[in-house]
Symmetry: D2
Subunit: 305 residues, 4 copies
């Protein structure tokens, strides 16, 4: 595939597209621009792309216009959005050039990732699944963790782009959908952590230990890592607004993890518990809250506020 | 309390006792000796104390002989052992001097800690609960985390001793039993982590991602902290022998956490799930395994060996 | 709607179709024939309908031929089968006469039932959801319980047919899909019972009480009802083959219940637990077993065979 | 043992004692009196025994006075009460005659039952564990189900007394404590049923099916048995006061079942779930409610009132 060779050899300026400019996408595009790439951006609601245009990006009026380069990124909210923009009649598969590359960063289902891989293969295009770990500030700071999977040549071609957006890239398989599986398993791990923090803090608090004191002990000793500090802090402070990652998206991700698990016949009782917490949160008015808010539910069950 | 003043003022050599020389105690006493303290050690099976005697400790034939100093540490396996040695007819409460200090490092129930506090108070003695986080290598390296609670003067008096055995001391309350509650909540947090790692690895593995690869991604990115690396490694390698911390002790700790929670009326469904995993492990021959072995059960449920 | 009037007035002989001749359908059609109705039957694999033809039914080569009467029953294994035969190009909605009635007895999703209702409404046809409780022997003996929902006139028209196949009909709503919701909730109730019986029997057995003795006590006293006796007996006897209702169908039903619950934002932790049991059973080779076999899993977790 | 022979041969009038006159005991004593027995009753608060004295019972001022006959029943609220009255210094074991029989009907722990059996054996007395299923109206109507275990001669001697208080007696083992295990497993089964009814009703209700309608369908079809009708009715009506069996007693029983299960290493995840529901209920002000009130918690989690 001549394209990939060129991409690697030149490596200086690559024309790429980027579809989906939300809290994450805006930072990622910013870093791609800083790395010297020509980026054409598309978003359903056009006003979000204005600051990026000011920073040097080109605005696309249709998805097709973002598909003329060597690669196109997608970073969308869910399966439905990506399916429509990638597999729809006027979508990416139809417009991307032969040999060009679709880098799919959204947190989507394993099943859709498999279908995308097949569709691109059928169209003579390349496909890499590359979901990321990190919240919007990490995206803005080019500090994401990229979990990539796909055919080796395609992954190699994408590597310089990953270096522009993240601090580290993990190549986990040559089957693209397994990157999505790893991403979903990681979000499950965070959801499980939220439940464990919520239960432990309810116990400590009702026993008479102040929540912040308890968290300080844990995160200065055995759990001395930002993910515990940040989420534990949100739970201890009961600070769930504004949402960095909304509860309904948390439910979506755990649902996708459980769907993959069901297809593989892997029971995940803790996964089920986390899912049920999200349902309870959303059933009681938590739509606008950060997903960390499930960590408050054990306290409610314990009769604490 | 004159003793505490003296203890703090002199601060050079303090005569202390240490009851319970297991994998943890041996390291802790070693570090107390290195710090210049005179340590009289007692253990039920006497041969374990020989290396400490060679290192300068005095051997006690009875608990009483370990109670003649300014303070006595206890580091025992469970409630029954501590209750017998502290509250029994020939025990610590009977023999400890007025104003002297009992530093209780064992992972015991909140209820027993409360009873000990009352007994020492009644005898004109001081009592600090000071359970520790860390496995035997951390004890040997004076790298424990000490979670202390008790009356401020008693905690202050114990502080130089904590500095000899640990890297950091957290004072969480003036009610001693709350240190035990924090310790138990921390062990619950580890148990919950084991379950989450086990489920996620079963999902990844059955999907086609090698366990070690998966763990490398997680612990090089969002969960970059030793507790995930070490325990995750044990699960990924299926290396549960020899046990660093045996499964039956894990069950004991989660039972104590749930007992405290029940007394406080705090439902902990994830705690219950972890407890049930330990029962399943022990019912199927896992007595000799490290408690991390519960992390293998989700794989078995998923039909993976 | 003239049809319904006629149906009720004549009430003697009604021409109907029946699509889906499995273990349940064969008994239901037999009873419709006995009640004097003219029944045209369709099944994908034609050999299953031979005994019914001998009993007086007409064989349809295509679904369309089963759609020429006043009503057509469907009794199929899952959503996919019904969707294809009802909504497919050559399906029931296309061929059923104006004013004629589709009586949908399959255990399907709430969502598909809603879509069917809308499709029939759009085609000027009537639709009643009428899932049933009862296993094949009850179907053969006209002892089913029918849970019906739909517009009152349509339900009224179907009533004589329900009387031919069941011992009792419950009309739960004028929204057809709510009959499906009730049916799914009932199957969840049975699944929950299986789990409770399995756990209690594991406890009793490991304690030293023989399983059959234990079951005799329970089902001769507070749980004196066939559903506990029959399923409890299967668990006590470890008799899971041949399957009266296969485990993968049990998983399907609990999945549909949980899907409806998720759409409504109703957490069902016990439903999740039952679902995870089915996954564990199927992951460990239980595809061919009766769904009661999840009741053996607690014994395995307890180290009993 | 001459006593048992006599008891069986005469069978007409037996002098017995009865310790513990609560909602259950009052009905049981009434029926023993009706059967012609001489009953001496003891209760901590004496005013409760007045109606029984009017009906022919003798009042005992001390436990000892209830121990002079051929047998003494106990029907007490929990382990602590029975332990004190049976094993205490002035208790039943001390005062019961050689060869006389203690019939223990309380719902107590397996462990206490074992200790009582040993104590009576050591004192040359007989002991039968005979917990009962049934609520106060069943006790009044002599419609209890008696679950009995003990040495065959002792059980045989007690049989005429069981006939006076119940509709059916099940002899499950010659080890007394196994009757307690069966009783606890049965209460677990009811607790599990409450959870399943609560979840299913929350699903049905939020979907649009009225709770009473839903319950009518279930309990007129597959779950046509009083225990589902009565408890389901309490949940459907949200009628949890006055308590027929208080929530804190429900927690006690499930705790005892789980304690027996833990000793036997039997994981009971549904048992754990039910226990956590009781904790949640009690943490949120449900002390005075009937234990059926845990069946309302799924609706609250679903955002229904």
């Amino acid at each position: 595939m001549a394209f990939f060779t060129n991409l690697l050899e030149e490596s200086v300026i690559v024309k790429i597209g980027f579809v989906g400019i939300g809290q994450m996408g805006v930072g990622m595009v910013g870093n791609l621009l800083k790395a010297g790439h020509e980026v054409t951006v598309f978003n359903r609601s056009a006003e979000k792309i204005r600051p990026l245009v000011e920073a040097g990006a080109k605005a696309a009026a249709r998805v097709a216009e973002a598909c003329h380069g060597a690669a196109v990124f997608t970073m969308l909210a869910d399966d439905a959005a990506l399916e429509s923009l990638a597999l729809g009649e006027d979508g990416i598969v139809r417009h991307l050039g032969a040999g060009a590359l679709h880098i799919s960063c959204s947190t989507i289902s394993v099943a859709l990732s498999e279908r995308l891989a097949a569709a691109h293969e059928g169209a003579g295009q390349a496909y890499v699944a590359a979901p990321v770990f990190g919240r919007p500030p990490a995206a803005a700071a080019a500090q994401l963790f990229v979990v990539a999977a796909g055919k080796p040549a395609a992954v190699a071609a994408a590597m310089p782009l990953f270096e522009a957006i993240g601090q580290k890239t993990f190549v986990v398989s040559d089957q693209p959908q397994l990157a999505n599986l790893v991403k979903l398993s990681g979000n499950f791990l965070i959801g499980a952590m939220l439940e464990s923090l919520g239960e432990a803090m309810a116990l400590a608090e009702k026993g008479g230990v102040e929540r912040r004191t308890w968290l300080e002990v844990m995160t200065s000793s055995i759990f001395n890592v930002p993910v515990y500090k940040i989420y534990g802090g949100l739970i201890a402070e009961r600070k769930f607004e504004p949402a960095g990652f909304a509860a309904h998206l948390g439910l979506k991700d755990i649902r996708l993890a459980l769907a993959a698990a069901e297809a593989l016949r892997v029971p995940m009782p803790l996964g089920s518990m986390v899912r049920d917490r999200f349902l309870s949160l959303l059933a009681n008015g938590g739509d606008a809250l950060d997903w960390a808010a499930i960590g408050q539910l054990p306290a409610k069950d314990a009769g604490l506020g």
